[in-house]
Amino acid sequence: MTDFLNFLVAGLSRGSMYALIALGYTLVYGVLQLINFAHSEVFMSGAFGSLIIINTVVGRGTHTLPWYGVVGVLLLGLLSGAITGAIVAWTLERVAYRPLRRRGAPKLAFLISAIGMSFFLSELAGKMFNRLNDNNFPLYFSPNRHILHLGGVYVTLPQLVPIVSALLMMVFLDRLVSKTKLGRSIRGVAEDAPTAALMGIDIDKTIARTFIIGGALGGAAGFLFGTAFTVSNTMGFIPGVKAFAAAVLGGIGNIRGAMLGGLTLGMIEAIVPTAPWGSNHAWIGIQWTDAVAFVVLVLVLMFRPTGLLGERLGRSA
């Protein structure tokens, strides 16, 4: 049982990151009916942005900081990741999508543009930094420090940080979309853009802000992923595909769906292939993790074609 719970914690931590990235896909899909495939590179940019800032402030190598230092670094990392992500996402919208929208390009053109930007950003990062997989955050806390230790279940700092920060950001986003004026205009554009425009909502501004919000969440996720694993110019691809799957699993365009989909996918990945937990021979085996995740996705879509919570941003919040 304790083994199961340990895997569950690992899955929640992974799922929180998927959920944060998935929100970026789902928000943009909500307002534009566009899968922003360059979002995985927004995530990657956030990781590099925070890496540069933190390496400048803390320095490379190992500097075990006191607790307030750790909190400071975490806040700085989340903030710098979010700002970088927001800037990249906003630029992306201005450069790759808005000109197409102005000219009334077909939806397919947006997708090609998105894929092109994705390759461009990934290769640009490879050119600017190096292509090796050795960009690492300084080790500013002991990764083995257990925050909680109940029986055999333990939670380490690198596991807890994504869960807590993702939860806070998701609650904040949920409130933002359902309670504020900006949120109302996002929902308005998502539900019916021409009518929203007639009601005095500036569509371009709303879309740009949606990209900024999604980019900030993705960039912050990039920081969390980078501290837990590694930073490289190709780091965005797999989490990006997984988060897209998570968004579809929860119901694309649905904010709470993306959160639920991300957490579900993360937990399925951690729990299903490792069953029965704690014994020597797993029934499925960890090498089948990706297969398990996508089989579950297919099964869910067979019985609920619009995902767990259904599509449409407008209706959800």
Partner: protein, 401 residues
């Protein structure tokens, strides 16, 4: 309905993106004008220019191994050209396969199509070697392999393939013996690549022979989250673990193992033994052991001059397989020289000369058996350990305590 059809387009284009990512960016970087002398198609006259190829990962996550090797090759070529006693000039053409079997054929054909190429150093990786050794063979280009350690390559009897160091089947049992001296239960993990599965399989086989309980699992090399497998290892109560895979993934694995509270012995094959592991794993990698059919050029007495030259040329210490690549290049150059002395330099004449190699290099004494491999029992497997985030040689693994 409108939104649904767009979701379909999304799914389709996702597949497209995956396909593009799969075959995209397999481009390669050309070395110092490798194609300039391509006019002399039949091999040129004596005193002319001959080209040798290098195929290995020069970009991507495994690029460090390729860079270690290409530096060794470049050093050997530059030294030979500077000494001027070959009777001809050597050029190097580099081809980047990213260590990926899927990208290796394109990288190989770039070398094969250059008619002035007389031999190739590489491919660095076992999977890539298995994918293209036949192509080089049918083009008649001799292959001198400095690092592809899979223990099955020689069984394919590729016509022009040679390897200058002991393979996984020599490295694996040695590593297994070492672990059997320290543990009663060992968890063996591999990255499902030709090399990783090969070395891990050889370790597991040897451990079982010694009566050690073995648990094996595979983890795909694209994984970033080694949390679940680390947790599984800790739960299993194994006193030691062995990882067959490559450096960047090994570093992530080391960090996850440390976070999961693993206290036992951690060991990996030669693919992990690299500076990418040192910096990537950081403190989490300290204490890891490595087996390698290679030498530590920075401590081996025979490689003192090489290490100094390498450092002067590239401002860094030689890495894993730098000295092997250097030896392999010198073997190839000696073969071209021999062919030139005997008459015309053709691809097949060079291959014949490589077959007859009897060479004392900085990594040891090198000859080739009929299957192209180093003769069984030749070569030494060394033990290495990460001490203070620096991998140092501990000497012959059979003598290690």
């Amino acid at each position: 309905m409108r939104t649904r059809s767009i979701a379909h387009i999304g799914a389709l284009s996702l597949i497209g993106a995956l396909a593009l990512a799969g075959c995209g960016s397999s481009n390669s970087s050309t070395a110092t004008g490798g194609l300039t002398s391509g006019s002399s198609g039949t091999g040129g006259t004596s005193g002319g220019t001959y080209t040798i190829g290098f195929e290995g990962p020069l970009s991507g996550t495994n690029a460090q191994l390729g860079i270690n090797e290409v530096n060794g090759v470049t050093l050997a070529v530059n030294q030979a050209n500077a000494a001027g006693n070959l009777g001809f000039t050597v050029k190097l053409v580099k081809s980047d396969d990213q260590g990926d079997p899927a990208k290796a054929p394109a990288a190989a054909s770039k070398i094969i199509q250059n008619t002035n190429v007389m031999g190739v150093i590489g491919p660095s990786f076992s999977g890539a070697t298995l994918a293209v050794a036949k192509n080089y063979g049918s083009a008649g280009i001799t292959i001198v392999n400095p690092s592809a350690s899979d223990g099955t390559i020689q069984t394919h009897h590729f016509p022009t393939w040679h390897r200058i160091f002991p393979n996984d089947y020599a490295e694996g049992p040695a590593a297994g013996d070492f672990l059997a001296r320290h543990a009663k239960k060992v968890f063996v993990v591999n990255d499902l690549s030709a090399y990783g599965a090969g070395v891990a399989g050889a370790v597991a086989k040897e451990l079982k022979k010694k009566g050690v309980t073995v648990v094996t699992q595979g983890v795909d090399a694209k994984t970033t989250d080694y949390g679940p497998i680390s947790q599984t290892i800790v739960n299993s109560g194994a006193q030691a673990m062995f990882y067959g895979g490559y450096d960047a993934q090994g570093a992530l694995f080391a960090k996850a193992l440390s976070a999961a509270g693993y206290k036992g012995i951690a060991m990996a094959g030669n693919g992990v033994k690299d500076s990418v592991f040192e910096t990537g794993a950081g403190a989490a990698g300290v204490g890891w052991y490595f087996s390698c059919g290679c030498q530590d050029a920075t401590v081996a007495p025979s490689a003192k001059q090489f290490t100094a030259d390498y450092k002067a040329a590239f401002k860094t210490d030689p890495g894993t397989y730098s000295s092997e690549a250097y030896d392999a290049t010198n073997i190839l150059l000696a073969a071209i020289k021999k062919a030139a002395a005997a008459g015309t330099v053709t691809r097949s004449a060079v291959n014949d000369a490589v077959n007859q190699t009897d060479y004392q290099g900085i990594t040891g004494h090198i000859t080739f058996s009929a299957d192209g491999d180093l003769p069984v029992g030749e070569g030494t497997v060394n033990l290495f350990q990460d001490k203070n985030q620096k991998i140092v040689g501990l000497g012959d693994i059979t003598k290690a305590k």
